[in-house]
Amino acid sequence: MRKTTKTIFRAAAAVGALAVIPAATSYANTAPTNPSADAVTVPGPWRGPVGYLTEQYDLTTREAVQRMEMQEDALKLNDKLRTGQSDTYAGMRLDMDSGVVHVRSTRPAEARAAADALPFGILKFLKADKAAKPVPKVPTTKVAADEQGQAKAPAVEQDFCGPLNCQTPLRSGVRLDGERDSDADYKWGGCTLGYVVQMPGGPDQKYLLTAGHCFYDSSDPAGNHNRKDERTWHNGIEVGQEGTGDGSYGHSAHGNHSGDDPHGSHNEYTWQTPDYAMIPVQNQDFWFGQTTDRRPGLLAAYGDCDNKTQEGYDCQIDDVLAITDTENLPPAGTTVCQQGTAEEGKTGTHAEGGWRPGQRCGEVIANRDETMNGKLVITNFCTAPGDSGGPLYIAHKDDTASAIGILTDGSPNLSGYENCAETDDGPSAAKGKKASWYWTVDHILLDELAHGNQFRLYTR
């Protein structure tokens, strides 16, 4: 932290804990006087988030990039305070409109001191009555750094790869075509792959992590989604098959773990119920290769899926991100993205209004108290049936992504990206708003850990 900023901090402390702290390094609006100087290169992973910020807050591209830089530093500070000052830290909120980070702590001065190590611009430290209840974090989900201590990022892939029919290796955010009711009308259901997980130290078996209601829903009066050995496909190639309970396909969980269902449990499809499935990967050699260097933990972020082709949608790949870690509950205001494969008029997805597969970006709108103590994350953007199970993540400019959660439900889809209705269901922070909510990856992994299954994200 620069000396001038420290001086200002001291001055601010003298007048109270609610001071706004401007700094020499600022993320606030710094529009150049020459309009042509506004030209700025947007890192590939930030095209979606910057697009959201410029539209939502009427920012210039430069300002939006600066906000994302601010977010990167804010998330570092958030981690630092959560781990180092858990007794006093009460959370933060990112105001992307004005470029201010609000930090709440019972001891603002200590939080302020922690920020010294970061190149912060505008911070607002607020006095809190009490610290937030710590959210458990899965200790094994962090990826091991390489020998240089840096997480490796993949090269950008320019090859065509649509979310409905992508190639190897298997990536987060692609379509899962699931068999349903093959003893009846034999319908197909479309959902989205959240993440790939595995058990370290166990057999080299990988699992698809997606929404539980995509595969099993005991509350469905028609008895759909109830077969136990249904297969799942991507691009016409089998990618997963549910367990039958006799161990023939390994572990196949559906959250909740209640009852005597050999698959884990029923899924009542309410927002309070852990809504996830872990499906053993089939054709593993094909999807991930016979060696471990096939770029595991990838997520291809798609934008502009406008040109429909026979095989789905010809989408621009904004970037290919390497998933490196999890972010349990990002602060409210954090710009995040989700990828889904719902599309209008396609079997099993039920989306309307020209809905297309691809990446959507928005922001986190809830605080920890409103999210079942960090088990859920709530965002302000619309989603549609078929997006379920899809990954919610924070895109970093170094071509990495932090996994946050998988989609479980959201506002009723009416017509198109922006026209979902305000929900009257779900968590309190979502009611009356256009919102979607997600089970956090950390909570899912902890839920599995409580049942003796030590999963972690498949990252490298």
Partner: protein
């Protein structure tokens, strides 16, 4: 033609081809010549046969080095065809006997090599249509699919590749 008749005919063809030396260096798949007749001692790449008839025993290593192989049955079994290099139109360019074996009749597939031995193009895309069209899947080197059956049975994206391929293209992969 029924599958059995096709199998019998193709086995006869395989015998004839073997007797006539058509598959002269298919046994070990070596496509290089290291004879001492080369004064420089350098390896000289022989021109590979563009297609070979193969018989699968269930071991995908039956596929000769450097080739893409397809079998008429799952698990790399029964008759098959090995293809060297990119081929944009199997129906037009593949010899009649091999077309009869494999076009519209393949259940397993394996990539055992380098499409172009002097380059890094060792992954192959298999297309449903001629001229590299109508959707594809990618096989990295040494990757195979034991059973191509299934996929969506409707007309949506995600339909399967059983019996579907009509062209193949080798390329330099990003993630293999």
């Amino acid at each position: 033609m029924t599958r059995n008749k096709r199998l019998a005919g193709a086995l006869f063809l395989l015998g004839v081809l073997t007797l006539t030396g058509f598959t002269a260096h298919a046994a070990n798949g070596d496509t290089t010549d290291t004879s001492t007749g080369d004064p420089a001692g350098a390896k000289r790449v022989q021109a590979a046969e563009p297609y070979k008839v193969i018989v699968g025993s269930g071991d995908r290593s039956d596929c000769p080095d450097g080739y893409l192989c397809l079998w008429t049955r799952p698990d790399y079994k029964d008759l098959g065809v090995a293809i060297y290099g990119s081929e944009r139109n199997w129906e037009f360019n593949m010899p009649q006997q091999m077309r009869d074996i494999i076009i519209g009749n393949h259940d397993s597939v394996y990539n055992n090599g380098y499409g172009e031995a002097t380059t890094s193009k060792d992954a192959v895309r298999l297309f449903r249509g001629n001229y590299y069209s109508d959707g594809w899947l990618t096989l990295c080197r040494l990757d195979g699919i034991r059973n191509l059956a299934g996929g969506r049975t409707d007309t949506e994206p995600g339909r399967g590749f059983t019996d579907a391929f009509h062209s193949n293209e080798w390329f330099d992969p990003k993630y293999c």
